[in-house]
Symmetry: C2
Subunit: 341 residues, 2 copies
Amino acid sequence: MHKKSEPTIHDIARELKISASTVSRALQNNPRISLKTRERIISLADSMGYRPNIMASNLRNKRSNTIGIVVPLINRYFFSAVISGVEEVAFKAGYNVVISQSNDLANKEISIVHSMFANRVDGLIISIAMQPTNYEHLKIFRKKNIPLVFFDRTVAEIDTNKIVVDDFMGGFRVTQHLIEQGYKRIGHMAGPQNLQTYLDRKNGYIEALSKNGISYDESLVINNSLTTEDGVNAVQYLMNLPNPPDAIFCGNDTTALSSMIYLRDKGIRIPEDFGIVGFSNEPFSKVVSPSISTIAQPGFLMGQKAAELILNQIEHKEKSFKTLVLPTELIVRESSNRKKV
Amino acid sequence: MHKKSEPTIHDIARELKISASTVSRALQNNPRISLKTRERIISLADSMGYRPNIMASNLRNKRSNTIGIVVPLINRYFFSAVISGVEEVAFKAGYNVVISQSNDLANKEISIVHSMFANRVDGLIISIAMQPTNYEHLKIFRKKNIPLVFFDRTVAEIDTNKIVVDDFMGGFRVTQHLIEQGYKRIGHMAGPQNLQTYLDRKNGYIEALSKNGISYDESLVINNSLTTEDGVNAVQYLMNLPNPPDAIFCGNDTTALSSMIYLRDKGIRIPEDFGIVGFSNEPFSKVVSPSISTIAQPGFLMGQKAAELILNQIEHKEKSFKTLVLPTELIVRESSNRKKV
DNA sequence: CACAATTGCGCAATCGATTGCATAAATATT
DNA sequence: AATATTTATGCAATCGATTGCGCAATTGTG
């Protein structure tokens, strides 16, 4: 905070020998104040470099003009795209955005969410951490009726606004595409199965197999945390099976890449011998060689929608909840395109 | 804000038939309150689900417990890494971080910075927009003595804490490396020259040429905004010169990549016929093919340092300013490594 | 011209937590 | 036992902006 205290409406009032109420009203363009007085006030305020103390205003108005956003990791393309979208919409509506990252740890998430609550954010937008917990910290928001929006990774047992991409269709399309490309044994690297997102993708995968009369072989599905190392370990394991797969649908682009590099180093040709598809369309997936087929998730749009939803709840007291399902797009690139579609 | 108003210290006081002062002190573990009373208060506070209203506390204490951070674009690896570093340190110290992006537009930056001021952030960490302006909005912070830290893109005329990477050495090393690799005519794609960062890189480039007895040819230097398209246009232009370069030092990895793709499509072999080095070590530069040599900037570390500096100013009223110069690291990859070092 | 309606502004309480000073009670000191 | 000291708590002002209510001055109406 500032050493030299800032001018307040009282300073302006004293100078002009009027009351602080009048100053406050004038600055809000309240019609109860005459044009002449208002002009005197605004002109003095300008020359004094007056800036309203938003903390005081917020306290009185019982709102913080702030939206909280919690992501697993800020420094990840998809999440920073979402943040960027939220920020854009929120800023235009006169809101601030405070962000925090959970690092995918339940305890940090709980601590962050409590802090956001104590700061009286007007609403919270969150994509939950991988590490499972009981979500009591989030249920508080529902209990107190503070707008809450989940995006991407949601909590089924909490009824509120949610925005997800169509993970089921994403998983389905990826698998369908691999089948159409003539791959016969398709594995799947799934994420933590406590997250709906990853469950849906897997279900889409299973559905596509079934529709094509391919029996679902559970031994080809690996549940891991989708880190670079996990990717390597998983393909290594899969390729050592008696009957290894000839394609894999990876839960994200990171594992798609690390799998690809591992296989390439083993002399396996992509996509001729082995097909790979990722998920999320990280920027690198377009520029690596071979480029990686993947599912595009509209991160920026998702952020904008999340902000719009929460602003609706905050400002119009919208009561009904919806779950927005944004479309995903299959992007076919080299890593799975052996028929050169 | 909440419909059902939250319990306050007054509610606790009333229930316990004591004063709000006592409650406030007890919750701060003030030794003036007896253990017995404190325990009663804390236990009741817990059972009521009491959470202090930080806005009220902040108003009274004349601090916001909030650090503002402004970046050109959240959704860029380097900047989100910095944000991540700031967030980590700030959170541990009990501060919130509010972020905004300028989209490299001067007007949005001004608007954001004013908003941060009105919100009484305890300190501001900023990397300025490319679009030049007079920086009056930032000088206010100095005038009012609100801690201000520049990172990466700084303003020379404002005396305050700054954190930069050693751009000069970065530019120097890149150029030296290209020379050592036997490239003879080295071009440079420089960014907007109103930013010190890019000036320093260019000066490093010039110095390396000079040290190696190579005359500086201004026609090989292009000043642009370093977008993907700029990169294509620049190499296209350079390659059409009567005496084109055989290597280029690009101001960022984005242009290095787009240049590379353009040249590859023209049948020019990288690095055999033409050497390319970028700047910033974007994640993709490691995984593209050929992989791109670049300069690593420690974004996360920079964020941590920025947060430490500003917390020092806020909490210990540190008066002296320093400019931290973080080391850069040349990462030699395929795009410039024709001698296979 | 008397009364009503409108306009312009101020008083004082409020939001919730904090804190200097005062007071009361308990304990220590001589 | 009387005074000094310590301990425990309360009173009331404060941070800066907002707003319901009321009052006075101005303008309008019959």
